[in-house]
Assembly symmetry: C2
Homo-oligomer: 202 residues x 2
């Protein structure tokens, strides 16, 4: 029996999604698990919980801990980290572009690059100029993508995606879905990959 694939649900404003995005291709490849990249928006899900900001801003002790934890994780992963001058940065535009990239098969290049821009280069990924620079660097037609990204069908697709996240029980990012199992947090990636290799479950 083949390993099942793993859905990687991420939000571009999420710090721990950055860490996951930087290592997921390596560890999924080693585990022989296929990846299904799934950009979504946490904002609407947090809003349902009554949060109008990142919980790391709403709960300062949790926020202070998270940034120190990120420093340790990134040091261990040999990953650059520059605390963004603005947090969280709105990931709407990047997520819309990611949905196009999924359909066209270049999301695995796009997503880690956007995360790096936000969390290692302190670039403002909420504005089109930054996304356009990234697209040009990746050899893509930024102008054409801009039109497609803002087309109503693509906007609707992202809304549907975010509703799908909620319906799967997703409440944070990154999350991983394998079959019917949900795993939350960069630190659950290994458990999710192990689940994908289990032969005894749906």
């Amino acid at each position: 029996m083949e390993n099942r694939s793993l859905q990687f649900w991420y939000e571009f404003a999420s710090t721990y999604s950055y860490v996951a995005s930087a290592r997921i291709q390596r560890v999924a490849g080693a585990a022989n698990v296929e990846l299904d990249w799934r950009a979504f928006l946490l904002g609407p899900i947090f809003a349902e919980q009554g949060w109008k900001d990142s919980p790391f801003n709403l709960y300062p002790a949790k926020g202070r801990y998270m940034w120190r934890d990120m420093e340790r994780l990134c040091e261990a992963e040999d990953l650059p980290l520059v605390r963004p001058s603005q947090f969280p940065r709105n990931g709407l535009l990047a997520a819309r572009v990611a949905l196009l990239a999924e359909a066209e098969g270049w999301v695995a290049e796009l997503t880690p690059t956007v995360f790096r821009a936000n969390f290692a280069e302190d670039r403002d990924i909420s504005v089109w100029e930054t996304i356009a620079e990234i697209l040009v660097d990746l050899g893509r037609d930024a102008e054409a993508i801009y039109e497609q990204a803002l087309a109503p069908t693509n906007k609707d697709a992202l809304k549907a995606r975010t509703e799908e996240a909620a319906s799967l029980g997703i409440f944070g990012a990154p999350s991983f879905v394998v079959g019917k199992e949900l795993f939350w947090g960069n630190d659950r990636l290994e458990a999710a990959l192990a689940w994908a290799g289990r032969a005894d479950v749906d």
Copy 2:
């Protein structure tokens, strides 16, 4: 240089503290790290954040996930889990007794037993009858302990302990403190133990 010791901060109502309590002596022993057991109360810390209940009750998607995650973790650890008929159960009485047990050197026996009563046997650890049964099973003088546990000095000691937790930046349980470093969550225990073995930090 010797490994530094690790402070294990736990709350008796906390599910992930149960998992940590069941494995910490084994993994700390293997890492040659001395344990400092630190019972505290999360209630006052949650109240500061505006929460009057467990976040797993306040945020249902997070709660559903947590119970499933606990099932998987306990299966992997070969640990019994019976979802308590009441959650969270007030850990005040148990924490007061744990403080006495710390001072007298039997907290490493007491704490895992209380957690098991709550999360593997669905016994009501919030009431004295249950705590007394546990103490008798451990060969302790329950009546004498009852008086000591409710003495003003011991009540004050638990208040001071919980204030110390907040001053260390603790916002959840289990937490681990090694020198000046804080680690949050059962899944950070290995990182905390590795930190205790580092020679290059205070």
